[in-house]
């Protein structure tokens, strides 16, 4: 377990600049909430909060699609995988790293959101549940991207991830069956944040969260199977 944690922490450390850039959005939200007219107009503040919240899913895809590629291109992966760590554990470390990076953002957003929305007069009981939805969405989106990145370059891996996440939404839209959204519930989880009004009492369902966690395990398993057959020493350029 320790090597997995070491890989995860190393990933967060390597991604410190993107994480800091993400946190700038949270700071922007706090700034708007405190100093501008938008802070006094609750609806505008809520709009900014929702926007800032769903960005993290895109960051999850970015982290997942580039994690292996960066280590392979720089050849750092050779000195890591020459140690007593299997490829499965290495991928687990990356998934945990992506989750940690997203959790930092969600936590910061949760704190800032609770504060600013509370100041604007919104009931903030739902904020932490919505942050959990976002974190589950990030974890799943990052793992799907990681799975694709085991055999595609980051650009195509991100595209394939977007298609995979969008397909259930498209199917539910065309067939009229909302259950399709639960197949890969990234969209359903993001929608929970985007459609939240904060006026009504918390009514969110835990089902998409549990499904996202289960599907994360499935995609991690697929990623590990594919990655175990890859020649990692071959140039990725």
């Amino acid at each position: 377990m320790k090597p997995v944690l070491v890989i995860a922490i190393n990933f967060v450390r390597e991604q410190r600049w993107p994480i800091l850039v993400m946190l700038l959005w949270v700071l922007l939200l706090a700034f708007l909430g405190l100093t501008t007219e938008a802070g006094r107009q609750g609806e505008d503040l809520l709009f900014v909060f929702k926007q800032v919240a769903v960005y993290v899913v895109a960051f999850g895809v970015f982290f997942g699609s580039s994690a292996i590629f960066n280590d392979r291109r720089s050849r750092r992966i050779l000195s890591v995988l020459s140690k007593a760590i299997g490829r499965k554990e290495y991928l687990t470390g990356l998934v945990l790293g992506i989750t940690l990076a997203s959790a930092i953002y969600c936590f910061a957003l949760g704190v800032t959101g609770s504060w600013t929305l509370g100041e604007a007069g919104f009931p903030v009981r739902q904020v932490w549940f919505l942050m959990l939805c976002l974190l589950a969405a990030c974890m799943l989106a990052g793992t799907v991207a990681l799975m694709f990145s085991t055999f595609l370059n980051p650009f195509f891996a991100a595209g394939a991830t977007a298609a995979t996440m969008g397909l259930p939404f498209l199917l539910s839209h065309t067939s009229g069956n909302a259950q399709w959204r639960l197949v890969i519930p990234v969209n359903a989880l993001a929608a929970a944040v985007l459609k939240s009004s904060f006026d009504a009492p918390a009514t969110g369902s835990w089902l998409p969260i549990f499904l996202a966690l289960g599907e994360t395990c499935v995609f991690w398993f697929l990623a590990a199977r594919i990655f175990s057959y890859m020649d990692i020493a071959v140039s990725v350029e």
Partner: protein, 313 residues
């Protein structure tokens, strides 16, 4: 006896996107015994790094198999007993000591153990004064020494080193050589791939030469270097003008000290000695001529000897 490293008819083919195949290793067999320093030679593109990457489990062989410390290639737990230094080493940008501890932690070492060990290995490679400096500011030679430190951090039984001294200055190179010799006395096995033939000649108990994915020469270093084809005869008391040097294929060198050094093909050795005696000279020594590893390397990789393929000793 359990072998440190074993390749058993390993073939590795790379395929391009368009299906074209390139065979990097062709039915490659090799056995490395415990506690020896083994030199692995070959020109660029011979397949040395491919063989090493297969042993480390970075890729799978197309056919054949191999064992690392008795376990199949790719067995993660076994790598806890292995230290590896890749060619063109790339490291995460952080202080040297922290980096060595990071690699030790991936190997499952305990934090308390690592604190002491990281300092020890950095001292071994002569970087104790730079332990807190970020490796992104290191020269290539210093990076290579950090690479050696991370390979040594887990006190491995087997060290696999791909070009470990290529970026080092002569002083550092001597340091690494001493480090490797000391490691052997501690019972470690060292598998050393290098282009620096003089290093291999000085360090290695056995060497293998790989060419176009096939093993073309394998043997004990001293045996390979000893030539039974030519002999150097030293003699004195010969008058250079009155001595019949022709018609042999020998080379003659009359020194200022009055000693003649004559290099002759082996079949002419007896005849040359007789002629020295007939001319009233005295034979001082008859020594089989030692070749350099460079000569052997050029000979086997230029095609002249490439038919001697296969893991024969």
């Amino acid at each position: 006896m359990k072998l440190a490293l074993e390749f058993d008819h390993v073939t590795k083919e790379y395929r391009s996107l368009f299906g074209r195949r390139f065979r990097a290793l062709d039915s490659f067999s090799l056995q490395v015994y415990p506690t020896e320093i083994f030199g692995f030679l070959g020109p660029n593109g011979a397949g040395k790094t491919t063989a090493i990457h297969l042993a480390m489990g970075f890729m799978r062989p197309t056919s054949g198999n191999g064992r690392l410390l008795g376990e199949p290639f790719g067995h993660a737990i076994t790598r806890r007993r292995v230290g590896f230094l890749p060619e063109n080493l790339a490291l995460y940008p952080r202080p040297a000591e922290e980096l060595v501890r990071f690699y030790g932690a991936i190997n499952g070492m305990r934090t308390s153990e690592l604190k002491q060990r990281a300092g020890e290995v950095l001292e071994m490679v002569g970087l104790e004064d730079h332990a807190r400096r970020n490796v992104s500011r290191f020269s290539r030679g210093m990076l290579q020494r950090v690479g050696l430190a991370q390979a040594l951090v887990n006190d491995p039984e087997l060290l696999i080193l791909d070009e470990p001294t290529s970026a080092l200055d002569p002083v550092a190179r001597v340091g690494v050589r001493e480090l490797l010799l000391k490691a052997r006395t501690q019972g470690k096995t060292i598998f050393l791939s290098s282009h620096l033939l003089s290093e291999i000649e000085l360090l290695c108990d056995r060497v293998a030469v790989l060419h176009r994915g096939r093993l073309v020469r394998l043997g004990r270093t001293d045996e390979l270097l000893e030539s039974y084809e030519r002999t150097e005869i030293a003699a004195r008391g010969i008058n250079p003008n009155g001595f019949d040097k022709a018609p042999d294929r020998s080379s003659w060198n009359f020194g200022q000290d009055g000693i003649a050094r004559i290099v002759v093909p082996r079949e002419q050795q007896r005849d040359t000695i007789n002629r020295i005696w007939d001319a009233g000279g005295e034979v001082i020594s008859v020594v089989p001529l030692r070749r350099s590893l460079e000569e052997i390397f050029l000979e086997v990789t230029s095609g002249a000897d490439s038919t001697r393929a296969g893991g024969v000793e």
